[in-house]
Symmetry: D2
């Protein structure tokens, strides 16, 4: 288990799907920053199941409580612990798991790794684990926004075969993203995505998608070569989110088909700083932010839990037919938008503090 | 600077392009493993510039010396330091860099981060830095191969628009990969890739590409959720390699267009273990290896150094025309194959030891 | 703030004296170990204020709750979070602290470090912080005892000028230690110590003391040279406990006056293992346990909070007279016994796992 | 093996007594600091064997080379690697070690830990290992001195039963310390210490001693509670030095015999800052520097290598007589003075950078 992330903005999380709660300790939060539960709750609400018919209909309220590190509305510099209690537990939904590892879930691998696994609901591999990250990352967003002026905005850019047109990454806002339940800022595409998700749900199936994220107004100089490069830590952060299968920054995989003469980002004067004419680099060169927007895309597979019957094997290798009875999301990307944003915030907050130490 | 990677198999690297040498300390190498310079040199030779006309014609011999941690051919359990001296220095090639940050290089970002930068050759952001990783990773490969039976094989699967057909990831060997200078095991495709690279070189331009990598014979149970998942650390490792822009594991970005019913990897009995019928997961579920081959793809951009004249700006923001005079690779993927393999080895060696502590 | 301790048995703590609670996350706890709150509570009870008239008369119940990582009485291998709610808060006791930094307390240094400090009760520097360590360390004791057979026993060996005679470190038990309120196993000395503490209390003053600790039945081979040697991590652990001023292992400071011929621990056969005739080394050579009992002593200063009036200065440098009104311990060593034991357990648990990874 | 120390000023060392060399990588050194080999060599010279008849007569020149991270006399912010080649090897001196573990040496524990050990000279547990620390710490001293104004001075305060009188910790200089070969600034005492060491040498025996160290001109606010307190990391650093058995800060063990009313350090105005009238705390409160001098004492045991015959056992448990033939120090404290200073510098440099990140 490595449930700690970060060097100076250091987050440690805990919690299974069906224990008493999930939460996190943030050690290294800068002192004297205004912080309250109200700064954290909105991202938890955006992550919460049951927001629309596109997501699971489990009703989780997920109220966060700050246990330490904040007094009279200001951070003290000491560790900030946050807790979200677990409530809506229906262990009976997960009964079959005892003998049959669910395909493309972590039942089998947890059993092989630990020689034991949570009796129900995925335990530590459950989506509930992400609550702790979102809480810790929402706290990071507060600091990044108030102290550094950084903005982080993610949106759904593809569901299955349906892709959204380009978005102006300099201007996109969370309000635009949240206008539709599917969290795609392009309304027509959003409708089509919504139909695609409904179709998958109808067929007791699931569907994948892509989230794009932009981080704006970063200073040049963030990122710690050679192993903790900006893109390297973003990639780790994103691939640590359940159900992710890919990460690309700037030109990404498409950039491999380009010539250097077209791909190179020439410098130009932008006000009082040096900027680049194009941004195929995605805001990072040599693993360090260059002052241009950082943008990247994250691939999410179709959720493994589906209502359809699947031919698979039990732990003993005997063939069995399995059909999920629990409640589940046909597509995770709408709810994963705040997870991507807050994980990006964890990366950037750590880089901000590490660069400050050098300054 | 974060030049340390790993928790129990812990590598720390040093070295600029034009200093006295590059090298690494590996702390945590298991004791009593046979290890010699001859185990490390082959991967350095595969990484070396000047292997063919497809790569830069700089001649670097890059001989590795073990300074500590090995006695009478066996590891002692103490830190193993390796050193590769720098030789072929032509600082004059890099003269213009003093006033003009090279587009899509790290000159500008290093200057912004550190307030100083190496006078020539890219300093720490140079490709020479990767020598230290390759040496440390080649040592990891030895341990993984001898003790754990793991095999790691990477190859060039795309150059520009030319993609190789599927490869049998259960059988591919390094010998097959090394049959062509371009390191694509499919001979016809290799010829076309070679022509594409020659064309780019001819035009004083550069071209990108994709490397695919497979890791075979891993035990189930490696990977440390929730932040150090198998795919998360592989992604960090790969995106820490210079010139990378993307990472995908298993079905990757293409998997986002699939339905769950098609994407789920059903379990079946394979000999005395439980395996999966398909492997869209890429050998990892919930961030933990499941015993199937791990495979992933890494996107490399076209190299930033090109002979063509580029319209850009100097540090003051004044427009200038810049043309590289130095020797450089028109395409990095042939030489990056051993870098991908050895970075994968660093990730796996650390997971092997971390899981052993749990066993 | 560095509130994380350990590499593989990794503890992160949180909590101020007057927030909602104190607690810890233990990441890396071995899976499949029987663990319950009843394993943790006894050491918390031994640490608790108000146990006798020798300690503060604040009544703190300090009930621990396990929030995660344990199911059906067995550890899952996932992070184990524990929480102890804060209850008995009387902020008014600490009113003067607002303007006057208490001598030899951390009010001044926290203010200088963070530019802010908890308004009352010492915040993170309060003795309540140690609850989290004790809980995490009691969990470590369970694992060390059940899996490795290790025993850790500490006792009060000096209060002020009163020192206890030598104790048989091979045989001493916690029951013997707990026979007296002062936790000195030598009854006559315990009585004299008790009178010394009562005298200090009477005079509205405080008094220091020494705790000796032995760790028995360790395998040879624990400890991680060169920076994480057995004695080095024990020293860090002990000096991280509030009010500590010194640490010595084996012969300690007295050993500096010896000749090597007298100090060297000659080897002799002990059953089927190699042991040493004497144990001036304190069970560690070259930073690695040698199979003999590890024993060390920890110096505690007289508590800084005293009822007597002290001539000091406020934050502005103005001379003031200060007298503590709160409830406080005249001597910390009786209650610090379980803190020393559990901090030792944190060190040993981490070494046990790190050595297992090598095995 | 844990050969890495520090969070932001991070040192990793390597090297056995009889390999090709010893050295270190310092990652996190601030950029743009003037640094040259001449800044490092003096402390290596003070540590070097063969300086006087009080130390071993092995002649080691120990010239340091900077391999990376410095260009044109300025640090680049990239990792700085330093190397000291091994030269004067006489493996034959250590022949008996093959079958007989030397009493109070690490031969036995290394064998038990790693299942293998260096064939000669103590390997990683040899005093030569400290060269790497001293080099890395001398670099830290440069930064602390030039950027922060910090001064670190250690001296021999006891040899066997001979103790030096109190020293004015505000004024003591390295020049005063180095006036005598024994490195005690009080001349009369130095003569007596010298005779004591000569007597031990004459008798083919060895003798222990104590080093006192002061760190002056630190800002208030350094130190990272709760586990990385100033005194905790100093204690770890000191107890990681070979042959150390104890550490005490401020009043130390003697302070345990004091009353709080006498021990508390009352605040008074000192110029424009708040200081304390006494300094029983040793410059740290709550684990954070308070602006007063930090001072501490380190206990060194008599060296284990002695010429006298010792009755001990071989690895099989058979009784044998052993007499060291190699060259060795009868007392380590004169040469350990720079080791204590440079280890203190490693601790302070890390705290300086960690506090800067918070500022």
């Amino acid at each position: 288990m490595s449930s700690t992330f970060g060097t100076l903005y250091r987050v440690t999380t805990f919690g299974e799907s069906h224990g008493r709660g999930v939460g996190a300790i943030v050690d290294g939060y800068p002192p004297r920053v205004p912080l309250a539960e109200a700064d954290i709750q909105p991202q938890l609400d955006r992550r919460r199941p049951g927001q629309s018919h596109l997501t699971t209909d489990r009703a989780e309220t997920d109220r966060v409580t700050i246990l330490s590190g904040v007094e009279n509305g200001l951070t003290l510099g000491s560790p900030i612990a946050v807790l979200v209690a677990n409530k809506d537990q229906k262990p009976s939904d997960y009964k079959e798991m005892q003998f049959v590892p669910r395909p493309s879930h972590a039942d089998y691998t947890y059993q092989m790794k630990y020689g034991i696994r949570a009796a129900s609901g995925g335990g530590r591999s459950s989506a509930r684990e992400t609550i702790a990250r979102v809480a810790a990352g929402a706290m990071a967003e507060k600091f990044l926004h108030v102290i550094c002026g950084v903005e982080i905005i993610a949106w759904v850019s593809a569901v299955g075969n349906i892709s959204a047109p380009e978005v102006d990454i300099e201007k996109i806002t969370r309000a635009e993203v949240d206008r539709t339940a599917v969290r795609c800022p392009h309304q027509n595409t959003a409708s089509r995505m919504q139909k695609e998700i409904e179709a998958a749900k109808e067929e007791k199936d699931s569907i994948g998608g892509i989230i794009t994220c932009v981080c704006r107004n970063l200073a040049a100089g963030w990122g710690e070569p050679v192993f903790d490069k900006m893109e390297a830590k973003l990639a780790q952060a994103m691939l640590s989110i359940p159900a992710t299968k890919g990460f690309e920054i700037g030109s990404g995989f498409a950039g491999t088909r380009m010539r250097g003469s077209a791909h190179n980002d020439a410098f130009i004067k932008k006000g009082d700083r040096l900027g680049t004419r194009t941004n195929f680099s995605g805001g990072t060169q040599g693993g360090i932010s260059n002052g241009e927007p950082i943008f990247f895309r994250v691939a999410f597979k179709p959720p493994a839990t589906i209502g359809r019957t699947q031919e698979t094997a039990d732990f003993e290798g005997q063939a069995v037919a399995l059909a999920a009875k629990g409640r589940h999301d046909p597509c995770v990307v709408p709810r994963a938008v705040p997870i991507v944003e807050t994980m990006a915030a964890l990366v950037l907050a750590d880089f901000a503090l590490r660069q400050k130490a050098r300054g």
